[in-house]
Symmetry: C2
Subunit: 419 residues, 2 copies
C-alpha cells in the first residue's frame, strides 16, 4: 500500500466494508484502540434503552422471565462459542475475565491434580496480562502451589513437564500482539500430562480460534475488546465438555445452582457450563454485550472470522510496513511479529524515550491508539470497522507528529486507560 | 388504618411523599417487590443513555479518565457508605454480592485464624440466603473448615464460641423479613474472639445500619433491591478500616492493584478498600446503580434513613394488620415479626397450600409481590415510593383473590424471579 489510491482501491474491493455500518464511529476519528474498548454498535443504544425503560421500567421483576434475563448469560455464551470453535452449552457470559479465570483455573487445578497431587506448578509467562498472573498467584498461595513464569515464549516448552499442572496463557499478548500456537502448546501440555487454559481476551472476535480442534481444556475471554460489548462488559468462560461437570468451581453462587429457585441451603451444581455462573448478572451490561457479539456474528455471511482474519492481517501488515517506510529514522522499533502466523490483530512499536507523548500527540489529532508501559505504542485493528484509508492516514499522522516534533507539546496529563 | 380515608390522610401527612417523584412507576401498579428489584429511577434512563451514546460512543477509551469511569466504583462505594454507617474510603461497588462475599469471607477467615488456627467454624443460619451458604460452603471445603448452621436465630449465640472464626449472617432475612440485632450479635462474636460479617442485601437503603457503631468487621450488600440500581446491579463490599490492609483477598485482579497501569507481573494491593476490586467493572450497570443510590441519598434532607424507617414500619405494620383483619379465615399465617425491632421492610405470610397461585392472581391484578418456596408470599415495602393507599388497595386485592377463589384460575406458568 504505497499511496492513498492504493488504500482507496483496497477499501473499494473490501467485501467486509458494509460491516462498518453497524457502528457509531465519531466523524473523523481513526480509532485504533478496539483491542481496549470496541466502538459502540448502533443497535446497542436502542437495545439498552429498551432494557432500561421497558424491561426494567415497565416489566420490572417479571422481566427475569418475560424478557428472558435468566437466559442472557447462556444465550450470549452460545453466541460467543460460535466465534471460538466451541459448541452450544459450553460457554457462558458472566462476571469479569479475572473472576472467570479464578473459576476455571481453580477447576483446572482440581482436575489436573486429582490423580497427580505432585504437580504443583501453574506455568505461564511473565509478559502475560498482569491480572491473569495476580489471580494465579493468589490461587497458588492459597493452595501451596507455584506460579512459574517463562521470560520468553520460547522458554515455555521447557517448563511444561511432569511438575506442571496447568499451562495458563493468553493467546495474543496484550502488549506485543504476539500470538501463541494454541494447537502446539496445548499438545505439549497434554503430552506432559498437564491441562491447557487459554485467555482469549485479545483473540475472541479478532482471530480464528478453534478450542475444540486444539483440544484446549479451559478458556476465558473479554467482552469489551473485539466483541464490542461496551465498557467493562461481562466476560466469558468456556470449559471443555469432558471437564464441565467434574468439579465445582469455588465461586458457587446461586445462579450456578441446579435449581436456583428452590432456595436449598445445600449447593447442587447445575449441569454443564451453567455451574460456572455465580451471582446475579448485570443485565444492562449483558444486553449491550449481546449487541456487540452480534456485530461479529454479522460477518458470518461474509466469510466469518476467516475473512476477518484476512483483512486484519492485511491491515496490520500495511500499518507495520507503512510506519517502517514513512516514519523511518525516528527510533520506532516494531515489537509485533512480522510473521502473520504469530501476529494478532494489533501492531506495536517500542520507542526508547518518547512513546507516551507521541501517542498523546496522535490522540490529539484524532488517531487513537494507546501507550503501554514502559515503552509501547499500541495500535489495534478491528477488521469489522477499520478501513485501509484509516491505516494510510494513521501512518501519515504518525509521520507528521514525529517529523514536526509535535509530541513535545503533547499533553502529558492523560493517563493510559483500560487494557 | 381502617379505611381508605385513613390511608389518604397518612399519605397527605407523609413528608417523604415527594421522593416518589424520582421514579418511573407504571400507572396503576402496586409494586411490592422492591426488595427483589427496585423500580426505575427517572434519572437512570437518561444517565445510561449518556454513558452509552456520549461516554462510550463518542468518548470511547478516553472516558475511563475524562468521564471518570475509573472512579465509579469507589465513588459509589462512598455514597453507599453514607447509608450503612461507614466512612469514605471504606466501601466499593463491584461484582456481585456472591463474589464480594467470597472476597470478604476469605479475608475474614484469614484474619480470624491468623492467631487462632484452631478456629475452624463459619457460623451462619440455615435460613440465610442460599448463595451466601454456597459461597461459605465452597470456601470451607477449600480450606478444610466447617460451615455450622443454626436452625433458628435463637440458637446462634450457643454456636458462637472458641471454635468459631467468623459469624456470617444476613441482617434481614430474605424470606421472613426477620432482622437480627447487629449490635448484640457482633458483640457476642467479638466476646468469643470471632469476627462478624454482615450481608446487608435486604438492609441497605431500607433500614438504618450502623456498621461502625456496631463494630462490625465486614459487610456486603446488593445494589438492585432497596438501592434501586437496576437488574443485576453491581453489589458492594465494606471492610472495617482496621482490617482493610491486613490481607489480600484472593480475587486479586488488576483493578485492585496499587498501580494498575504499571502492568507489573507481581500483585501489589492498593491501599485500603480498593484492594477489594477485582476486574474491569461493568460501567453501564454501575452508572445505573449510582442513580439508584442517589434516590436513597435524596431522603437525607427529609430525615434520611431514620425517616424512611419510620415510614417503612408504618407501612409494614399497616399491611400486616390489614391482612390479618380483612383476610382472616383463609389460612394465611404471618411469618414476619410483629415486633418492629425485629422486622425489616417486608411482610411475609405463609400459606400451607395455595401461596403460589394466590401470588399469581395478585400479580395479574397488578399487585406485585413474589412467592418464595416452599410456602411464602412475600411483600416488600420500599418507603421511597410505596404509599399508604397502595397498602390499602393491596390488602383489598388480596382479600378479593382469596374470597373469590380467583387464585384457582391464576396462571401457574410464571416462575419466581430473582431474590
Amino acid at each position: 500500500m504505497n499511496s492513498i489510491a492504493d488504500a482507496q482501491a483496497l477499501d473499494a474491493a473490501d467485501t467486509l466494508a458494509p460491516l462498518r455500518e453497524q457502528f457509531h464511529i465519531p466523524p473523523g476519528l481513526i480509532y485504533l484502540d478496539g483491542n481496549s474498548l470496541g466502538v459502540l454498535p448502533r443497535a446497542a443504544a436502542a437495545r439498552v434503552q429498551q432494557v432500561v425503560q421497558q424491561e426494567w421500567g415497565t416489566g420490572l421483576i417479571g422481566s427475569w422471565n418475560s424478557a428472558g434475563w435468566m437466559e442472557l448469560a447462556p444465550r450470549i455464551g452460545d453466541k460467543i462459542a460460535r466465534l471460538i470453535g466451541a459448541g452450544p452449552g459450553e460457554c457462558v457470559a458472566a462476571d469479569s475475565t479475572s473472576v472467570n479465570l479464578f473459576k476455571v483455573l481453580s477447576a483446572a487445578l482440581n482436575i489436573a491434580r486429582a490423580d497427580a497431587p505432585a504437580r504443583l506448578r501453574i506455568v505461564s509467562e511473565r509478559s502475560n496480562f498482569p491480572t491473569d498472573l495476580y489471580i494465579a498467584e493468589a490461587l497458588a498461595q492459597e493452595r501451596g502451589l507455584q506460579l512459574v513464569l517463562a521470560d520468553a515464549a520460547e522458554d515455555l516448552p521447557g517448563l511444561i513437564d511432569e511438575r506442571c499442572a496447568v499451562l495458563m496463557l493468553t493467546h495474543v499478548n496484550y502488549s506485543t500482539g504476539r500470538m501463541h500456537d494454541m494447537d502446539a502448546l496445548t499438545r505439549t501440555a497434554h503430552e506432559a500430562g498437564a491441562l491447557a487454559l487459554w485467555d482469549l481476551a485479545h483473540s475472541a472476535g479478532a482471530v480464528p480460534v478453534d478450542l475444540a480442534g486444539s483440544g484446549a481444556d479451559f478458556a476465558v475471554g473479554c467482552g469489551y475488546k473485539y466483541l464490542n460489548g461496551g465498557p467493562g462488559a461481562p466476560a466469558f468462560a468456556w470449559v471443555a465438555p469432558k471437564h464441565a461437570e467434574r468439579f465445582w468451581q469455588p465461586l458457587a453462587g446461586w445462579m450456578g445452582h441446579a435449581a436456583p429457585f428452590e432456595f436449598t441451603p445445600d449447593y447442587r451444581p447445575a449441569a454443564g457450563i451453567r455451574r460456572y455462573l455465580c451471582g446475579t448478572p448485570p443485565v444492562l451490561s449483558l444486553a449491550a454485550l449481546e449487541c456487540g457479539v452480534d456485530t461479529v456474528l454479522a460477518a458470518e455471511p461474509f466469510g466469518g472470522l476467516a475473512a476477518l482474519r484476512r483483512k486484519s492481517l492485511a491491515l496490520t501488515r500495511a500499518f507495520a510496513d507503512g510506519v517502517e517506510a514513512r516514519c523511518a529514522g525516528h527510533g520506532l522499533k516494531l515489537v509485533s511479529p512480522r510473521d502473520d502466523a504469530l501476529r494478532g490483530s494489533q501492531v506495536c512499536f517500542a520507542h526508547p524515550s518518547i512513546g507516551y507523548p507521541v501517542m498523546q500527540a496522535l490522540i490529539a489529532r484524532g488517531v487513537v491508539g494507546d501507550f503501554r508501559a514502559p515503552d509501547i505504542l499500541r495500535f489495534g485493528f478491528t477488521p469489522l470497522y477499520i478501513r485501509f484509508i484509516d491505516v494510510w492516514h494513521a501512518v501519515g499522522h504518525l509521520q507528521q507528529v514525529l517529523e514536526g516534533g509535535e509530541w513535545r507539546e503533547a499533553r502529558f496529563n492523560q493517563r493510559a486507560a483500560v487494557t
